[in-house]
């Protein structure tokens, strides 16, 4: 019996014991002790590919070869491309790629397959004849989407963390330039005529405090490799895949339309989110947003989009609802022609609109993500990320014709079950939201929310990153929740889901998943965790006990006091002078500094758009650390250091 199986057996026993008791806290302690042995650490080296250590496949994206004979499946957790015969679904070969791959694209000729690797910031180039990796090129921070231009001259790679698009020489991988995208630039599509690349981004761009989020579609000209347009997407935060009709007249992009500015008192009538498509192109004129939701059923977290060849159908994967929405594209266009267009350009608030164009909601597996049509358009392949399966949908009947099981571990372990719970919307009222609605890809959403229990309009809170959250209790900005089971159990059930409660085992699994969420590599750290001179200077400022005028800084007013320890928090509450008139209290928990460079806006209510604003705008009395003696350069040094945390 392998170590993994042995520990899994122990875990089963623990679950059984837990089922018979309510010793929740004890379980979490034990789980925390046992689980690390089952999982590679976040910054582990090359993977062990022995059978006993096989990870879940977690298929995220897939593409069909130009001749229709192959299906390339990007398996994120097993970090490989599985090449399947597109008719028999037999595995032809498995090609290992880099760490935590996310994006996949074929060259126009189909002879090369490009795969982005988010954790080692590289691009794998696979020769599709030999099915081997022929090159691995460095790109930007957390590369995601990738496309090659028609001429095979340039590659465009969307970098989520650096929020840009790297333009590479498609033959050598040499980076030519970077084009600024929206925040969290992630998904790319080439227009059918090959003249433009379109980019979307998963986090909203910076905007004024307590105003609607703003996103964009970044349009790049492929001849000159320059940005030519930024199509605004007002009110949308979280934009994912986009697709074009073959004639290039219709573009479609999937997105979230949050209601973060309205007190989250209940979920009825789209109280937390609308989930929408934004249409653009000659067929629709000005961009227009249409809802995927219904009155009693939501399309929680649309992700992948595809339009069939004759523009009769649009298919959208709905990750949280675990289905695929089939849209009659012509009825959709007719709807737009016959219904007066709102001044806002959005029908998102009309929950009956989708009855005009949605023709089926096809149940598939856990967390469907990428999708691709067969060359004849009769089959739709859907990657069920948290089920290790691919649903094959008959596009004439809109039913699942078969399900391809990808090889992987038998059964599910607590982390997988917890992740399924994290991503499914089934617990919330009418399936509107899940943890991942606001923690996109298990991170954050860049938004501030008005939660109901603190009072309408009171205690506006910035949503936080979950990575590294283990060991940073208490939770909530006011420190009101002592542990993750409280934070994710009763609080979430009552004030978010408002419809269903977890059973103890489900909550235990969810807690294990969150506690063991790996922390992505920090891009601001040098190899070996050495510091640059600026970072060294910033570290000294962070730790200093005397200000520039030689006056001692009280211990409680040093950065390093509240933000101490490996995660940058001493887990205590302080009044740092940031209380707003709408806040119920001034005492706030020192937040951890994990990956702080990624998580703007800042402060408890998200009022600081940048790290610098924390001190230049919101620290007039030096209550949030002694900083008013620092120059701009010194603040920059401090920020440089903080980014390494």
């Amino acid at each position: 019996m392998s170590l993994r199986a042995l520990i899994a057996g122990q875990w089963s026993g623990l679950r059984a014991a837990f089922a018979a008791s309510t010793a929740t806290l004890a379980l979490f302690v034990v789980a925390a002790a046992v689980w690390p042995a089952l999982n590679r650490p976040a910054n582990a080296g090359p993977r062990d590919t022995s059978a006993d250590e096989l990870d879940y496949a977690s298929p995220l994206e897939l593409v069909v070869s130009p001749d229709g004979g192959r299906l390339y499946v990007l398996c994120q957790q097993s970090e490989e491309i599985r090449v399947l015969d597109a008719n028999s679904y037999a595995v032809l070969k498995t090609v290992h790629v880099g760490r935590v791959p996310r994006g996949i694209a074929l060259s126009p000729a189909g002879d090369r397959l490009f795969v982005t690797n988010t954790w080692d910031d590289t691009l794998s180039v696979i020769d599709t004849k030999a099915l081997t990796v022929t090159a691995t090129w460095p790109v930007g921070a957390e590369p995601s989407g990738v496309v090659e231009d028609r001429a095979g001259k340039r590659l465009y790679v969307a970098n989520r963390i650096s929020s840009d698009v790297a333009v590479l020489d498609a033959q050598t991988g040499a980076e030519e330039k970077r084009l600024m995208g929206g925040r969290g630039t992630s998904y790319l599509a080439l227009s059918p005529d090959g003249n433009r690349v379109y980019a979307t981004h998963v986090y909203p761009n910076a905007s004024a405090h307590r105003t609607a989020p703003e996103s964009e579609i970044t349009v790049m000209d492929t001849t000159r490799a320059v940005v030519t347009d930024r199509m605004p997407m007002h009110g949308i935060a979280g934009v994912f895949h986009l697709a074009f009709s073959a004639d290039g007249r219709l573009g479609v992009v999937a997105g979230y339309h949050p209601k973060n500015l309205v007190p989250l008192a209940h979920l009825e009538h789209g109280g937390a989110f609308a989930y929408t498509l934004t249409l653009f192109g000659a067929d629709v004129g000005k961009p227009v947003e249409v809802p995927l939701d219904e009155l009693d059923r939501y399309a929680s977290q649309p992700f992948g989009v595809v339009i069939n060849a004759d523009k009769s159908r649009i298919f959208v994967t709905i990750g949280g609802s675990e289905n695929v929405v089939a849209i009659d594209a012509q009825r959709l266009l007719a709807f737009l022609r016959t219904h007066p267009r709102p001044a806002s350009g959005s029908y998102a608030q009309d929950l009956s609109a989708s009855s005009n164009y949605v023709i089926a909601r096809i149940p598939v597996g856990h967390n469907p993500r990428g999708l691709a049509l067969s060359r004849d358009g009769r089959r739709l392949f859907v990657a069920n990320r948290l089920e290790d399966t691919i649903s094959v949908i008959d596009t004439r009947s809109n039913r699942v014709a078969s399900t391809i099981a990808l090889a992987g571990p038998n059964g599910t372990n607590p982390i997988r079950r917890g992740e399924q719970t994290f991503y499914t919307a089934r617990y919330s009222f009418q399936g509107q939201i899940s943890c991942s609605s606001c923690h996109i890809d298990s991170t954050f959403d860049g938004l501030t929310w008005d939660l109901e229990p603190d009072g309408f309009g009171r205690d506006i809170v910035d949503n936080k990153m979950l990575e590294g959250v283990k060991g940073t209790e208490p939770y909530k900005w006011n420190g009101g929740n002592p542990n993750i089971p409280t934070e994710c159990g009763p609080r979430t059930e009552k004030y978010f889901w408002r419809s269903e409660q977890y059973d103890n085992l489900t909550l235990a699994d969810l807690t294990v998943y969150i506690r063991n969420m790996p922390t992505r590599p920090n891009r601001w750290r040098l190899p070996g965790y050495e510091l640059t001179p600026a970072q060294e200077r910033g570290k000294a400022l962070f730790s200093r006990a005397v200000d520039k005028f030689g006056k001692p800084i009280e211990e409680y007013n040093r950065c390093s006091f509240c933000h101490s320890g490996p995660k940058g928090t001493n887990q205590k509450l302080f009044d740092v002078g940031t209380r707003k008139p709408t806040d119920n209290g001034a005492m706030l928990k020192a937040p951890p500094l994990t990956e702080i460079a990624l998580t703007a806006p800042y402060l408890h209510d998200g009022s600081a758009r940048t790290l610098e604003e924390i001190w230049t705008v919101y620290n007039p009395e030096d209550k949030h650390g002694r900083t008013n003696d620092l120059t701009k350069d010194e603040l920059n040094d401090l920020i440089e250091y903080l980014r390494t945390r």
């Binding site: 609308a274 009155l295 608030q349 309009g457």
Partner: protein, 474 residues
């Protein structure tokens, strides 16, 4: 003895039920589970909404096993309103042990035929349904008609045996003049109930039954759909999520994509009362040829042209069938009510309405409630902000009604009926009767930029300056 008559009329009919009528020939091969159905000489389904008796000549529940009916339970003068438990092992029903007793709520376990009285009260208790976590919901007769109530373990020692972790005490869920009767428990955890439209209007000769929703803690009351007008009752949710109901004498449905009801193309006949759905997706319906005839129990495969009779009985209506089988557990709503004696309500844009958006901004909003004599009493007014928003503190657990006023205090628009907000409830409305199809816009309501303290319209206290804050870390 399996059956002891305490109500001679219906009992007499039913004692010879099996021998006299039996099922139709096809019934013995029915492909679905056992069925429990109510048999009654006279069925007046809407009488309860008038506070009257639905089965004035009695009723008895029949268990239809392999097509053969037999009384479900012995020793009762009348039984009705079956609801099978989520695990399919027991059944709730309303029963009268003696003809002059009030209806009470009982539970029968199928395996051993053990019987427990769950609700004992001096007034009628009818139409029970199981809720998750050992609770149940039913209609309790009160001075103002039937009201929907939920009960937990403390309501009765017998109920405690269902689930020791169940909630406590009997909890009123509806607070209206007139009657409210539960019709089903939906998969999303809400309770579908019937009442008069407009909600809270006095029962009269021209009442229009309509279907409404409420959470199992009494919060969130609203119309299921706002295409009001036709009488709608007898709603039952299918596995698909659609709600099928009786519209006049025909069937119709609410379906998630539509803001209005959709007709059901059923075979010719008059339909009455709730339907049931078999595991195979067929519908069990109560149908009759026309007035003057009785409802028979029929099975219909939606989309087909004909129904088949499962059971018919001369002189009896066979209504409100339920299938004896496990079913999907409805969601277990976790109440988020605060420990307050009042409620808060905010409208995002009072100008918005299904009846047509107001072109002119109302100056203020007025709140009324009803006094002990049923007279409307104004509890206060509050300003409407330039974006149409208002935020008010309201009386809880009693009928309330909003009116929008112009600068001169004249009513611009007024709610037709009355609703309530539970104590400790905080509620947001998109507009004033915008209908469930209208979602909220994502913007900070102007009223919250001015103040986060609701205008006190409770009619009791002066405006509070204390922040509206819940205790604890939630």
């Amino acid at each position: 003895m399996r059956f002891a008559a305490g109500f001679p009329g219906i009992a007499g009919l039913l004692l010879g039920f099996s021998a006299l009528c039996g099922p139709v020939s096809a019934a013995a091969q029915t492909p679905f589970s056992d069925i429990v159905v109510t048999a009654a000489p006279v069925y007046e389904p809407l009488a309860a909404l008038r506070g009257q008796e639905r089965f004035p000549k009695g009723a008895q529940l029949l268990l239809v096993h392999q097509g053969k009916p037999e009384p479900l339970v012995a020793g009762f003068a009348a039984t009705a309103d079956a609801n099978v438990s989520i695990d399919g092992r027991s059944v709730l029903f309303a029963g009268k042990q003696a003809a002059n007793d009030p209806w009470q709520i009982w539970e029968l376990t199928f395996a051993d035929h053990s019987l427990r009285r769950l609700i004992a009260s001096s007034a009628d208790a009818i139409r029970p349904f199981y809720l998750p976590a050992g609770r149940l919901v039913y209609a309790q007769r009160t001075a103002s008609g039937f009201q929907v109530v939920a009960a937990g373990k403390s309501a009765t020692s017998a109920l405690a045996a269902i689930d020791a972790a169940a909630g406590a005490t009997v909890l009123p869920l509806t607070y209206v003049q007139g009657s409210a009767i539960p019709a089903d428990v939906l998969l999303d955890g809400r309770i579908l109930f019937e009442s008069n439209f407009p909600l809270g209007s006095e029962a009269g000769n021209h009442l229009t039954p309509e279907m409404f929703l409420v959470y199992s803690d009494g919060s969130g009351v609203e119309s299921y759909r706002c295409d009001h007008g036709a009488p709608r009752w007898g709603g039952h949710q299918l596995a698909s999520g659609d709600v099928v109901f009786t519209h006049g004498a025909s069937l119709a449905r609410f379906t998630s994509p539509l803001a209005h009801e959709a007709p059901v193309a059923a075979p010719h006949g008059e339909f009455g009362g709730a339907i049931a759905e078999t595991a195979g997706g067929d519908w069990l319906v109560s149908a009759r040829a026309g007035a003057g005839t009785h409802y028979a129990l029929k099975v219909w495969k939606p989309g087909t042209a004909a129904m088949q009779t499962v059971l018919a009985q001369a002189g009896l209506d066979l209504v409100e069938p339920v299938v004896v089988a496990p079913r999907t557990r409805p969601h277990q709503h976790p109440t988020a009510l605060h420990d307050w004696s009042y409620a808060n309500m905010m409208a995002l844009d009072a100008r918005l309405s299904r009846a047509g958006d107001l072109k002119v901004l109302p100056a203020s909003v007025r709140l009324e409630t009803l006094d002990a004599q049923g007279h409307a009493v104004v509890t206060g007014t509050a300003p409407v902000e330039p974006d149409g928003s208002f935020f008010v503190k309201t009386p809880a657990d009693k009928p309330i009604r909003f009116s929008l006023l112009d600068q001169k205090g004249a009513v611009v628009r007024q709610e037709h009926g009355w609703f309530w907000i539970r104590r400790g409830e905080q509620r947001i409305c998109v507009g004033c009767h915008t209908g469930p199809e209208r979602g909220s816009e994502n913007q900070v309501p102007a009223v919250l930029l001015r103040t986060t303290t609701p205008a006190d319209l409770t009619g009791v206290n002066p405006v509070s300056s204390a922040p509206n804050k819940a205790a604890g870390g939630n």
